[in-house]
Symmetry: C2
Subunit: 422 residues, 2 copies
Amino acid sequence: MVNFSPKLDVSLDPPLPKTRNEGLVIRKYGGSSLATPEMVNEVADEVAAIAEAGDRVVLVVSAMGDSTDRLIDLAGKFAEPPAPRELDQLMATGEQVSAAVLAMALTERGIEAVSLSGDQAGIEVAGEPGAATIVRVDPGKIAARLRDARVVVVAGFQGRDADGELLTLGRGGSDTTAVALAAALGGSECEIRTDVHGVRTADPRIVRDTRVVRTISYDAMVELAGLGARVLHPRSVELARRHGVAVRVTHASDPGPSTVVTAGEASMEDVPRVIGIAHERDVRLVRVEVSASGPDHYARVLATLAACGVRPDNLSWPDPGELRFTVRGTEPLGLPIARLAMELDARSTVFEDLGSVSVVGTALLDPPGFLPGLLRVLADHRVTVPAMTTSPSRLTAVIPADAVDMTVRALHDSFGLAVDRP
Amino acid sequence: MVNFSPKLDVSLDPPLPKTRNEGLVIRKYGGSSLATPEMVNEVADEVAAIAEAGDRVVLVVSAMGDSTDRLIDLAGKFAEPPAPRELDQLMATGEQVSAAVLAMALTERGIEAVSLSGDQAGIEVAGEPGAATIVRVDPGKIAARLRDARVVVVAGFQGRDADGELLTLGRGGSDTTAVALAAALGGSECEIRTDVHGVRTADPRIVRDTRVVRTISYDAMVELAGLGARVLHPRSVELARRHGVAVRVTHASDPGPSTVVTAGEASMEDVPRVIGIAHERDVRLVRVEVSASGPDHYARVLATLAACGVRPDNLSWPDPGELRFTVRGTEPLGLPIARLAMELDARSTVFEDLGSVSVVGTALLDPPGFLPGLLRVLADHRVTVPAMTTSPSRLTAVIPADAVDMTVRALHDSFGLAVDRP
């Protein structure tokens, strides 16, 4: 299996504090929680209460509601597509506006608050416009502000590179900013306020009686997020794992259960268990037959695919000379297949109209394991399975797209996920 | 006469180039020239033509049309008044958006262009939020960009202070940014594209047949700007004077005559001439009688006025123990007058419903001078004149507010300003 492996790092300078910084709340609010001035004022009320209770607060904010879309629309009036560097310069203002108005709202409530752009917050990034990664956070910048202000509001999704260029982080960028700040400042936990209660045992649009997962390991979260739960972007989870930051996902306005993503509670660490059922639609299965087998040939196939922007998933080589993988989405595959034929004399076959279901959990393959249970459900429901891959934390079956909903429900039921456990 | 003396400086590091930078166009577009996406695209067409002809271009832009008002409205939804620092963080995004979209539009036309915030452009400022002044421009930042890009678009009205704080420059800030960049980069001229054709010989709302002044000295421009022409803010003119930058004011969309503000052409330098007629409404005349005369007492009066935020204009002391000055605007004067009475035992009288007319020009008092002509017009029209002040570049008469329009017309006609001269 090819895991999504985000290239992220936080080089801490000075190094990570030895003791966790208690009394410091690090919290991110997504754009859906800041969609209107009224919602911003509600967030300000909530944060003011924390600050008044004595904690210092570092907030990371996304752009307000649809302002990102409005900025993209504006850009479209001048260029199609806009120059990536300039799109970044433009987009970064969305988060800066959110940060400034939230700091205003807090100041209005008598709370000393300052807003900072990613640059002002000491977030150093590298990479290309729209897809930068955080390479370093200077914790001194925010720490200095926290000596005077009770709340520091940081514009998420952005930073400054070594040449002074402003760059945005791309998808999941604000979550990643929050986790990076928690790591750099030694916060014990990073809270993500969003529009869901946390991670569920399956997609509630498919399964009626889903449950919020109370704790989940970083690894299992990456599997879930990459497959469909989309509560946290895998890159932010990966960063949290590296720096041991616990991430709590909570609904912004509706109190209730929440999910903590962490290294795992000691007592549960080795207990095999199913956490949830993930799924994917718009999956295609590609079979590539090369004239000569061997790792070298496979590597050349993968290089050609990467050059065409194709990201293979669920990779396997069932027979010598054959590579099999899935591709998500609906992007045409004509060009990569033509290049594979021309450059490597490879014949490719694409199977369309597929989806996938995945059982995600811990130690799934430890005996007796959960694979027999998965196979039994598939067989009982006469689901054809053109491909399957397994790992200790994920068992994935590629199935017809029109069987996805039914299979997710059957698996959720079969593994008893709706019942709360102690 | 008390001149408006803006505290502005550009410390150049490295120092001002010895030779002017030919082939470098430095131009500012005001918000009214960037009010709609269509207007931004028109500006992009115009600038692309210059860049294609071979020149490098540094643009300074204001926020698009009403976006500044919209940001102020947004701020009003969170705080009244908003924290000044946060208002600056918010307002600065307006110019950053303009700069980014204009750079996009240029890139779309095949012109290499980059946008820069004031900070990225190396503009160092000092002072308070909303009222910062430029203390230094690092020309290396823009010069480095001009090696790759034909056009650099700089967000006006902003900079970064020594502590890394983002600050805006307040009124006239974008004009001042443009002049500061011209000084720092050694541009031979700074062009201001705005919604007027330049400086006129009088207010066209009062006088029908005004003429655009082709050249005007820095000093005369300050007199005009401070009095009512309001084409360029005095602070930008003062900065241009200090660094010998010629400023050309041109209508952004309607070609035609323009005004160049400069040290003066050699051949005209010593020729006495009237440039235009300025005027002011909402003027009050204040007469302060102090118990003891002398510079020390006058100084105490002025200190008390300054402490109350009163800026005296057209100051004179006609008799021992009496100080006379005008105050613009409609702010109540009760507090300063009460303090003058309490602290200095001074009796004050305020004359309301006044205005002023000023003959602005060069060497106005050289014999035979223009004062007789001014006095004749006032006498012919039976205008009462409660106060008058003169300087070589300005002759000002305080007159009843309801006589302002008629007197401006009479003076414009009497000094032959409507006729174009060679």
